[in-house]
Symmetry: C2
Subunit: 82 residues, 2 copies
Amino acid sequence: MPRIIVDVMPKPEILDPQGKAIVGALPRLGFDAFSSVRQGKRFELTVDGEVTEAILAQAKEAAATLLSNPVIEDVVNVEVQD
Amino acid sequence: MPRIIVDVMPKPEILDPQGKAIVGALPRLGFDAFSSVRQGKRFELTVDGEVTEAILAQAKEAAATLLSNPVIEDVVNVEVQD
């Protein structure tokens, strides 16, 4: 069944304490290649049947209203995955 | 600067209470097209300079060890985004 993937990230100007914790932990584990880390959310919405334009529009509206907090987060991607 | 995107999702057999809460809330808000929802995590790792094979390998190892809990989560995607 097709799925719609929604990616939500904290806005660039918002402090991301989880990302900061990860970027601090990485070099202690020997991973020294990364200068910053941001942590966001990924949603998989399963659709029964075909993904129509109307369903994709629903997903985009749900992403902007229920799945993200527009004060502190950006919806960075909404895409269909078969 | 290039970024490496890491997507982590709960394993299919693991209960996902956040996803369940969302799939319950969607129809109350008029979004009736979705039969299930899973919530996972998305990480953006910023790399200074070029993403070499070695750096991508580091990202994959970090994804499997620090960014995900292999008991309950799968790393579903590691990709370079320019």
